[in-house]
Amino acid sequence: MKKITLFIIIATLFSSCVQILDINLPAEDRLISLNGILNPDSLIKINLSRSINSQDGDAYVKFIENGDVSLYVDGEFYEKMQHDTFGYYKASIMPEIGKIYRVETDNGGKIVSSQASVPPKVNLNDFKIEINYDSTIETWTNYETGEEYDTVIYTLDETGHAYTSFNDAADQKNYYFIAMYVKKPDLFWDDYGNVYIRGYLYEPFYFNVNGDQNYMSYQMDNTIQGYVIDDQLFDGQQKILKLDFDSWQLDQYTGYIDAVLYLKFYILSEDMYKFIESYNRYQDVGSNPFAEPVNVFSNITNGVGLFAGINVFTDSLVINMSRK
């Protein structure tokens, strides 16, 4: 009996101080994630998916394929958006500057909605690249003839620069995103593994803005990676951007004919900026137990996600690595 008593006492004293709790989130409380970017170059398109219990893995994310999505333009019903694949719904029109677009869908009786507009376009000026080379003359010998001759050896500077500029609209908050990428011709195997297909490969092109590491970086997709710029320090002025990059990035395309360096300049709506800013902070915090959690920005009423406008200016340069 003594042993049993002792066991009970010890078991009580050293009983586990950890318990597992279940969050019972009712299915009807799950939110619709509505995502869409208004870009005047593309048809209006949104994506619908459903949120998952935070204890579930990502595999449980499901796109909503049977949604009923309405599009309103300047407050007037325009059309039902047509279902595409993977939760996408498309409208028949491209957005125009100055109009307000509203999308609505339903989640168990609750109207899930958001509205956005396209910001005015801003053009970039004078996109150019500067890479400096050092050259030295070396004397080489022809082994067959024994004749000596001079040859020029080129050495790349470590850092190359791209330059561009734009005019910021005064007395309003403006947000921009700038990115560069390379489109290069390439050959691919076909599905049978023995035939070359001529195509193009897109690769990100890494740089810093004005030599400053502290601009907020963002990755739009696998190719478009760049920096967010707000006009707090140059409101209403011309802004000159110097984009610094490692020269080897261009050097590696020397052997390619028609490799093109693209510069993409996005004018972001404020909501888009808030999303990028909060998403970056969310990623930075990670699992830091001391930091307060970050809410990723959402502008969806009765749901989550982002419906926001952008405008894009694209410029390009054919990469010419000829050194003579």
Binding site: V18, L21, G57, R281, D284, V285, E292, P293, V294
Partner: protein, 811 residues
Amino acid sequence: MKQIYTLLLVFLYFSGFSQNITISGYVENSETGEPIINAIVYDSLNLSYGTVTNSYGFFSLTLPRQTVKIMANYSGFSPYKLNFLPTKDTLLKIELIPDIQIGQVVVTANGTKVENTQMSQIDVPVATVKKMPVLFGEVDVLKTIQLLPGVQSGTEGTSGIYVRGGGPDQNLILLDGVPVYNVNHLFGFFSVFNGYAINDISLIKGGFPARYGGRLSSVLDIRMKEGNMKKFSGEVSIGAIASKSTIEGPIQKDKTSFIISGRRTYLDIITAPFMKIASTAATIGGTTFSGGYFFYDLNAKINHKFSENDRVYLSFYLGKDKAYTNVSNLWDNDYSKSKFDLHWGNITTAFRWNHLFGPKLFANTTITYSNYLFSTTAENEYRFTWLGNATKELWRVNYISGIEDIAGKIDFDYMPTNTHRIKFGLTAILHNFKPGVSVLNYDSYETGVRIDSTYGNENIQGIEYGGYVEDEFRIGRFLKINAGLRTTGLQLTDTMFYSIEPRISVRALVNDNFSIKASYAQMTQYLHFLTNSTIGLPTDLWLPATKAIPPEHSWQAALGTAFNLNKGWELSIEVFYKEMKGLIEYKEGESFFTSSATDSSNTSWENKVEIGKGWSYGGEIFLQKKIGKFSGWIGYTLSYSNRQFPTIAFGKIFPYRYDRRHDIGIVLIYKLSDKIDFGATWVYGTGIAVTLAQQRFLPINMVEARINSMDDNHYYSYGTTTVEYYGNRNNFRLPAYHRLDLGVNFNKKNKLGIRTWSISVYNAYNRMNAFYVDFNGNFLGIDANTTYKRELFKYSLFPLIPSVSYSLKFK
């Protein structure tokens, strides 16, 4: 000219009472000679004439020139009675005799909760605190305060107090009038106040008199014992984790006394031999390790009566926590040594001079020094030999932060008539903020490279000053008002803030046992407290208001009633509403350990925080019995506390972390006999609010990644594409907190004094209260057909914990 007229009017007004005489003096404990605070002194022949003693036991009563029957009483003491016909102003020294048969005290309206204009104030008898069952047998003042209505506790086991929806920094915690900035030992599991050295505890939650200021939510005024003027006595206690001892006595009987009290934990001493055994077993080619943690407190005080008119006090507190590790690896002539040291602590000193300018004017002049310092040092040294060449390097990083105050103040207590009690004074505090400095030392004996660099935030100095005047006056028998004004300011090198704070408390006495009270108070706080931890981390920083982060302000209104019930029971019911502006919180994603998430080049604390507002409201019921064999209290609080910041949770209103909807504290002490007394406490609180993701969703930039990761059946997922959805800050409630503690004290007289065995059980029914909750694991590539789930873990700290302590009180 106007001022002269005003002075003349005041003089004429008060000089109209020349037919009166003034009886003043001190009320003291007859056994120790220590002053008794808040003792009631009144003329029992005319209950309109009564007062209470101030913090130094002084009273002044102005009466008509007629026969009086002066009575003085205080809980736990036999009442004092004196019949006489005063012919002139008289100075009395009243000595109250401790009553063994407590419960016989005559309680009148004078000086009780019913009579006082002060509302939202609770005086906690130290004797009750000592009899309560406690964690590891350590008497803890702050944990007792947590059991009072209107006071919410923090997380499990910690000593933080959250008064009427305010934060832990909004409490002005005074030890002998000196602010104590860090009241935590062992990350908040114990408070710095040694119960053996404390004489009086008083908590004010609202209706603040003008003499108090500097914080928004509460004043916790803790007075140390003065030291026995009559004879030597002491107390020794040995507990589960700490020992304490106190000695006090007269240096010159009835003139000069002292008290010294010390406490130290000894977990480090107990574990040291085991560490040594484990280390020496692997000394050669292996690792030696030592480490530990301890804290200690030292309270000392000396006081001297020069005359009936002059008395001085010098009090001192020193407390320190230290955690350390030493790890060494030895190989022949080579070695590596690393040390880590973390320590923090307070030093406070107060010199006070009481002077009586006459029977109606009491003055107290105080000079104080307070210093809180946090320091951590990491050091690494190694010597390595390769092919006959020795390399030796040493680096050390030391981080220091803290706050240092030097203050002076003078307070007057002027009792011109029986209907007026005027208090006024001036204060000035020189703050020296140390927001955090790191010192890096590097020394390479091989290369000769030496670095000795200091970086971090510069120290900031500021002068906080204040002046106040308050008058507690009576209009007729039934209406009593305390009206006051406090003006304060903070002078920094580049800016200055000031504030005017009106205060008023009104009491309407319905009958001798029932009064209605109302109060309004504005408060200003020039100090900000930077914390985002749930426990009292020593890295939490005190910082001044700045141009970018202005001072905090609040106003609070309260309405309440007080009842005297039969047999010493008192009941008070109050409702309150409080608004706070200028509160600070870390921005989302920020913490002490991170640089600014959105701008890594800017690590200033001002860029990490956001300014917002808060408000709280609720009701409190407090039923207390201080005297008799059975004593204790029952407190219930219903409260709401919210916050709003511009960008936190997109500007939504969110509940404060310690917004406990319901809070109950029950304390029961039963004295069965002189030999045995029992104690029980039960606490219940709605679970605290934490931020917990309950859903995850696909953000816009991950839609394509999600599609690309799926196979033809839309099932397969590589990596994490979703983000957590929190909705709002503090959106999830932990399970309700409740706990029962039981204790019994066995007292026995022996030839040395009274010995007491205390047995207590903390968390008697082994409730696994949540300390925090967290998800485990990460999402990996999985097949949807498997039932993989991330689990939510609830971590608890303290299961059922029995403890035994022994104490000997010798006389």
